[in-house]
């Protein structure tokens, strides 16, 4: 029995003036999988994440969460439906402490301020429990990225959209991120991963979708990516 489709675009177009950023894109994220979304700069990866999270409305086509059409809905409606995300350009609550960043997410889910252990668990999971009392905007870049991830995970999403989560992380932090992604998947959370670090993306993904100039050019298994002529021509290049 195929896994349930959590998140889906059907025939999505997104245009900015005369520029077509997404062209008739169908992408589905299924329960319990890590789907890597790769492609060259300007391929439309972040635009697709914005459409999935209702930050941007598609010009044409539909966005669906568990089969429910979300066009015209706000990002908070998508979040309440169990889909959350992180950003390539960090979107932290900078004036709040690390603990408060996570607490806001828990409280937005209706979990009371008394849920202290929930906050501690989230921070410990990302290895930043010792920074709980620090202001988020005073942390080093890599740790700020982890705070954003901790906040997203605190929502206990069914689908997590990650935009370049490894950018700015040290090698050790990348290894930790890889383990975290695998653990998140084993917890039943589906992950849509936009990532330029191909080793990381292909190392954790169950499936890979490749975008080029707003068009989905391939939907492959990770081991097929480096052999696929279309992907090599559009993204990887030849030596």
């Amino acid at each position: 029995m195929p896994a349930e489709t959590l998140l889906e675009t059907r025939g999505v177009w997104r245009e900015f003036g005369g520029v077509v950023a997404l062209r008739d894109v169908d992408v589905a994220l299924r329960a319990g999988e890590i789907l890597a979304l790769i492609g060259p700069n300007g391929a439309g990866k972040t635009t697709l994440l914005n459409v999935f999270s209702c930050v941007l409305a598609p010009t044409r086509g539909g966005v669906y969460v568990r089969g429910v059409r979300m066009n015209g809905r706000s990002p908070h409606a998508v979040a309440r439906a169990g889909v959350t995300r992180t950003f390539q350009n960090l979107q932290l609550f900078g004036s709040l402490t690390v603990e408060e960043n996570v607490r806001v997410a828990l409280e937005a889910r209706g979990r009371g301020a008394a849920d202290r252990s929930g906050v501690e668990r989230c921070l410990a999971r990302l290895g930043i429990a010792d920074r709980a009392a620090d202001r988020a905007d005073e942390l080093p870049f890599g740790q700020r990225r982890l705070v954003e991830l901790a906040r997203a995970l605190a929502l206990e999403p069914t689908a997590l959209l990650l935009d370049e989560p490894a950018a700015g992380l040290s090698l050790l932090e990348r290894v930790a991120l890889r383990h975290l992604l695998l653990r998140v998947r084993s917890d039943g959370v589906a992950v849509l991963l936009v990532e330029h670090d191909l080793d990381l993306a292909l190392g954790v993904a169950d499936r890979v979708v490749v975008l080029d100039q707003g068009v989905k050019i391939a939907d492959l298994k990770p081991e097929e990516v480096r052999r696929d002529e279309r992907v090599v021509a559009a993204y990887l290049g030849t030596e």
Binding site: V55, Q91, F93, S95, R103, V104, A105, P140, Q143, E148
Partner: protein
């Protein structure tokens, strides 16, 4: 709600303010008590503005309208219908809160300069209505005979009684605001101020939150306005124009936008300075008008923004922190880089 979310330091500071206000009538003349009454009234409105501008990081150039609407609503209800000011005050505040929510719903879809322009337009429209809707507002000449708030008078000096009353409101509303900003709602508000996008994606309906805080902020202005109406017992459109909106904003910025104490500090500093300049300037600059104060405010604003952008109220916390801080070793730059 207050218990548990009002930090001890704030509770102590509020108690200290209450003690100072309690003894002020025994130490100050009626003139200075009047200055403190005015500072208290403006302080209430400035605290509300701090919630909206400092915490939610929105902008309003029209808060004088809510102050004026609170004043006129309570004043008119008490004068025309003969109702007790203790009844007209909450009714006026409720009306203003509802009006702000109704106006805020479309207006707060705007951001930045556009929101500033829209709130400026609201303020101007309110001024025009006050001047032109003569059958109700009595137009530019205003109306008098507004009853004072009835309460037990302790002192022979009228200003002393009003001082206690107004500052009881200041302290109560500041305590409420402090409890609010330290609660889960305050956290959500600060989160929205930091990143609306991220706040949406943790599930906060930011549009509703912004309308809510706009209405709450307007409610603070309305309380101050209604108290003002029953204090001066005469209303005309003149005090509720754009310049007063700007003055409130200056108070909030000078005191510290992202701080409840900033609103109160800014109001006390600006009102005191205004009075000082009114007395000090004429001998130096014969024929100088009140508008010269604006030049001085402008200079103060620039100096505060350059030297203490978090506002004068943060100086207290800074001093306490410095006194309480133990010497710490300077971390090598490499250590910070490795941590990243």
């Amino acid at each position: 709600m207050i218990r548990g979310v009002l930090p001890r330091r704030d509770a102590v500071a509020l108690a200290a303010v209450a003690a100072l206000i309690a003894v002020a009538p025994f130490a100050l003349s009626g003139y200075y008590l009047g200055v403190l009454v005015t500072a208290g009234l403006y302080g209430i409105a400035a605290v509300g503005l701090c919630l909206f501008v400092g915490y939610a990081k929105q902008i309003s150039l029209g808060h004088a309208a809510f102050y004026g609407l609170g004043a006129y609503a309570s004043g008119l209800l008490a004068t025309r219908l003969g109702l007790s000011p203790w009844l007209t005050l909450p009714v006026a505040v409720a009306l203003v809160v509802l009006a702000a929510a109704a106006v805020g719903y479309p207006v707060l879809r705007l951001e930045g300069n556009y929101l500033a322009m829209a709130t400026l337009a609201l303020g101007i429209m309110f001024s025009v209505v006050l001047r032109e809707w003569i059958p109700v507002t009595a137009g530019p000449s205003g109306f008098s005979g507004i009853p004072e708030l009835p309460f037990p008078r302790v002192f022979a000096k009228g200003e002393a009684n009003t001082l206690w009353l107004v500052w009881a409101f200041v302290i109560a509303l500041a305590a409420l605001a402090l409890a609010f900003v330290n609660s889960r709602w305050g956290r959500a508000l600060r989160a929205i101020g930091d990143s609306e996008l991220a706040a949406e994606l943790v599930g906060l309906d930011t549009a509703r939150w912004k309308v809510g805080i706009f209405a709450l902020s307007a409610g603070y202005a309305a309380v101050a306005g209604a108290l003002y109406a029953h204090y001066v017992t005469f209303l005309s459109p003149e005090p509720f124009g754009f310049m007063f909106s700007l003055e409130l904003l200056v108070m909030a910025v000078v005191g510290g936008l992202a701080s409840v104490w900033g609103g109160i500090t800014g109001a006390v500093v600006i009102v005191a300075l205004t009075e000082l300049l009114r007395r000090a300037l004429p001998p130096w600059l014969p024929g100088s008008s009140g508008e010269l104060e604006l030049v001085v405010f402008g200079v103060i604003l620039i100096v505060v923004l350059l030297l203490r952008p978090s506002g004068l109220a943060s100086l207290g916390a800074w001093v306490i922190e410095r006194r309480g801080r133990e010497p710490i070793a300077v971390e090598a730059p490499e250590a910070g880089a490795r941590a990243g």
